[in-house]
């Protein structure tokens, strides 16, 4: 009973200070404002940077081309001359198309034009019979690198220009069409373009198969037959891959999927395509593995058998992605992490944990030390109350306050998000794959357990604050040490992992500071987990460490507080 009265006393003390209100109000305001700031920063335009860069690139390219106005210099550097000329075309295209961000899909597509330009220049020299240029190109040896093989070999064998001319015209019209599509911001053109290309590739492989079959039928040499047969198997596998990809190229064209980097449909299709590609990859052979594992950080500590298992797991993960994203597309449910607002919301909600810890540091730091420093301890400890009860009441007050604040911060953060983006994003279910089946949960069902589990770090930090406050009697240390821990433990964790002290990383608190990063595989530590199969950071161990170290620090505080003589 007495402990309730004592805890009430501590609350009275905490809430008699103006600073407490200031801190809580600032924290509440930041919870409310954070979604707005996220929204603002996500939509902030980098126009000025991009346009500045573009203009200076144009200037630089023009300067380079000025150097090449001397014919001899130009011929000596014929490759670079062509490259810079093509660059200038493309830079001007970007400028005219009004591209203002590196995220713009047309940025990449513009750049893909460069080889077409260079090829067209090379061919034009040949067609126009510019002897000096042709000679220079031959000397540089880059003709065969850029110019269409078939057309070039025809020209080289009998000097015929027919195919080169055809190729040139085709290039010209392609460049014009692509440029127009970029100028008009027309993704449909590219959807169609890549679909056609895929169809062409498939036709080519079919041709190759037919030819190889023919050759196989003609030969009677068993060894050759064997080789042809292997070739055909290889080609068939490629054909199968391309046919699978063709389905998605077709899907893009049929559904007019944009190429916007932030459009969830585009992201889904992209992810599915790369997952399909992965399904056709073969694991390294033993020899390859031995070679690559020397350089590849991720493979370093693995045996070949481990690697095969790892590879299979990755393959299975990618297969799940295909299943999952196909479901998303079919049912028109954006994956939460790619939906425009929930994406930001998911990445930032864990901010309330750090915020609670920070508020905890500031409120809890003086809770014992100031009693010593101000001398009030001499009126506090002459009461008929055992000392452990006094410290316990202080700890309880801090923890209860932090639990209330944590709940308040979370609710306000979520409400602020809803106010900003509407409820729609929250109504989408979260899909995941468990044992091959698609599991659907509401967004809160998905976030809250992770959030609550990760909040154990607040307990750890609060215990550290109370320990420093009690043992050192210094409010400054009680603020500084936990604050530094909060700020740098992630870095410490990644350094430990980077130096491959995996066991230390797995059993100290540093890498576990943000448990949500481990659960969601986000952030620096999350990436390290993804890339280090031999690193085994277990969320439950992390939770236990937070709890265990926290309790140890509290026990130390109790011992010191109960035994210490009040000398001054």
């Amino acid at each position: 009973m007495k402990i309730f009265a004592l805890t009430g006393n501590e609350f009275t003390k905490i809430f008699s200070k103006k600073s407490t209100y200031v801190i809580i109000i600032i924290a509440l305001a930041s919870c409310f404002l954070l979604p707005f700031m996220n929204y603002k920063s996500a939509n902030i335009s980098h126009d000025s940077y991009y346009t500045q860069n573009l203009n200076s690139e144009i200037e630089w390219t023009q300067n380079t081309l000025n150097v090449y106005s001397d014919i001899n210099t130009r011929l000596d550097n014929i490759m670079d001359y062509c490259y810079q000329t093509a660059s200038l075309q493309i830079l001007n295209l970007k400028l005219n198309a009004g591209i203002t961000s590196y995220d713009d899909w047309r940025e990449t597509e513009s750049y893909n034009l460069i080889n077409k330009y260079i090829e067209s220049y090379y061919i034009s020299y040949i067609i126009n019979d510019n002897k000096e240029y042709i000679e220079a190109l031959e000397k540089s040896g880059s003709l065969s690198e850029y110019v269409n093989q078939e057309a070039l070999s025809e020209y080289l064998s009998d000097g015929s220009l027919t195919k080169l001319r055809q190729r040139y015209d085709a290039l010209q019209s392609e460049i014009t069409a692509i440029s127009n599509a970029i100028l008009n911001n027309d993704p449909a053109y590219f959807n169609q373009y890549y679909l056609t290309q895929m169809n062409n590739d498939i036709a080519q492989i079919n041709n190759s198969i037919a030819e190889t079959n023919k050759l196989m039928a003609q030969t009677s040499n068993e060894e050759e037959k064997q080789i042809y047969s292997e070739n055909i198997t290889e080609l068939n596998s490629q054909l199968q891959l391309l046919n699978e990809l063709l389905v998605w190229k077709q899907y893009r064209a049929d559904n007019n999927i944009s190429r916007d980097a932030y459009d969830w449909r585009n992201i889904c299709v992209n992810s599915i395509e790369s997952a399909i590609n992965f399904q056709y990859q073969l694991p390294y052979t033993k020899e390859q593995f031995d070679e690559y594992s020397q350089y590849d950080y991720a493979l370093k500590d693995m045996t070949y058998e481990d690697y095969l298992i790892y590879f299979d797991n990755q393959k299975a993960e990618q297969r799940d992605i295909i299943t999952l994203y196909t479901y998303h597309l079919d049912n028109n449910i954006p994956p939460a992490q790619y939906a425009s607002s929930t994406r930001m919301q998911l990445q930032s909600i864990y901010y309330v944990i750090t915020l609670t810890a920070l508020v905890g540091i500031i409120i809890a730091a003086p809770i014992v030390s100031s009693e010593y420093n101000k001398g009030t301890i001499r009126l506090l400890l002459i009461r008929p109350v055992k000392r452990y009860k006094i410290l316990l009441s202080k700890i309880l007050a801090v923890l209860i306050l932090l639990i209330i604040l944590f709940a308040l911060f979370t609710v306000i953060y979520i409400l602020s998000n809803i106010a900003l983006f509407g409820y729609e994003d929250y109504s989408y279910p979260m899909l995941s794959i468990s044992e091959g089946n698609i599991v659907s949960k509401s967004i809160l069902e998905t976030i809250l357990p992770v959030l609550l589990k990760s909040a154990i770090s607040v307990f750890f930090i609060a215990s550290m604050v109370i320990m420093f406050s009690t043992v050192t009697k210094s409010t400054v240390l009680a603020v500084a040490m936990p604050f530094m821990f909060l700020a740098f433990s992630g870095l410490m964790g990644s350094i430990l992992i980077y130096l491959q002290y995996y066991t230390i990383a797995e059993y100290t608190i540093f890498a576990y500071m943000n448990l949500y990063d481990i659960i969601n595989q986000t952030g620096t530590i999350g990436n390290m987990i993804l890339n280090n199969p031999s690193l085994n950071l277990n969320v439950n161990i992390g939770f236990a460490l937070h709890l265990g170290y926290g309790l140890l620090m509290l026990i130390l505080s109790f011992i010191v507080f109960s035994k210490r003589d009040i000398k001054n």
Binding site: K2, A5, L6, G8, N9, T12, K13, S16, K17, K18, K374, G375, T376, R378, L379, L380, L381, I382, R383, P384, V385, K386, K563, D565, I566, K567
Partner: protein, 308 residues
């Protein structure tokens, strides 16, 4: 009379230094006990052990029949105290401060708060923040928190620090009143001897951690009947009076100090000499007997201090 506070062979060491060495004394109900000693003698250390701020290395402290070591909470239930300056929570009001401490003693009725606030004359300022209080007001609030729960033992460490003369008088009267009316036992430590003399019934003098003497005020005030004392005569004709004294006393005894005639005499001798002076037409304005003071006792008990 049963003692409210009893120290039995209490010792305390800090590191290798023995700060309190085998101290025993007791304070009875209704008694104001002065605890005297130079700085660093062990006064505050002893007091801090009594109120539970320091652990007791050896010996036993019994408060109202309960050993502090055995049942901390029960023993301290009957203790109120101010140790050094009463450092209160300056960011809270006086009333909030009292409530905080009151709650630590269990439930105290609301009337009791008003009563004690009135007693220490803080009624009109009690709802102001303590940081706006003068030192004297803080002392009074300190007294209020110490008496709030009606303790049987009040422990005050240097309570007159920072109080103005009126405040000191108020404190003295309050303590005397509680001691007489409610049988409150008070333990006061101080180095202000004059104050102690006015306030206390009994004194313990501590030096270098050891209790050297315990005396009552009576013991000190009244010497023995025929004790030879120093008498000072204020007269109109100093030379003539000196001649009279020389006639009856051994040479060297009578002296002229600061325009007064001074001699070491018994009670009877002083009266006879006075008669002689009057007979020889010398006007005697006053005769002062230099009484044996607490200061003398204090100096005598703490001889080490005389060297300085």
């Amino acid at each position: 009379m049963t003692p409210v506070l009893e120290l039995k062979n209490v010792s305390k060491t800090f590191g290798k230094k023995t700060v309190v060495d085998n101290v025993s004394f007791s304070v009875n109900s209704g008694e104001i006990f002065g605890f005297l000693g130079p700085n660093g003698a062990g006064k505050t250390t002893t007091i801090k052990m009594i109120v539970g701020l320091l652990s007791i290395d050896k010996g036993e402290i019994i408060i109202d029949g309960t050993s502090l070591k055995k049942d901390f909470e029960k023993a301290l239930r009957n203790v109120g105290g101010i140790i050094e300056n009463p450092e209160l929570y300056s960011y809270m009001t006086g009333r909030q401060n009292l409530k905080i401490f009151g709650r630590m003693h269990g439930s105290i009725p609301k009337e009791r708060y008003d009563e004690i606030i009135q007693k220490v004359k803080l009624s009109n300022r009690i709802d102001e923040k303590v940081k706006k209080y003068s030192l004297g007001m803080r002392q009074r609030l300190g007294v209020a928190q110490a008496l709030l729960h009606n303790p049987k033992l009040l422990v005050l460490d240097e309570p007159t620090n920072g109080l103005d003369p009126a405040g000191i008088r108020d404190l003295r009267n309050t303590l005397k009143e509680y001691a007489e009316k409610d049988g409150l036992a008070v333990l006061v430590s101080s180095h202000l001897l004059s104050e102690m003399e006015l306030m206390c019934d009994r004194f313990g003098i501590i030096d270098k951690g050891a209790l050297t003497d315990v005396k009552t005020l009576k013991d000190i005030r009244l010497g023995k009947e025929n004790e030879i004392r120093n008498y000072e005569f204020d007269v109109d004709q100093l030379e003539k009076a000196f001649g009279v004294f020389e006639k009856y006393l051994t040479p060297g005894n009578p002296k002229i100090v600061d325009g007064r005639l001074s001699a070491r005499l018994s009670k009877e001798a002083a009266a006879k000499l006075n008669a002689k002076l009057v007979k020889t037409d010398i006007k005697v304005y006053s005769i002062n007997q230099a009484s044996h003071t607490l200061e003398d006792e204090y100096i005598a008990a703490t001889k080490s201090e005389q060297i300085h």
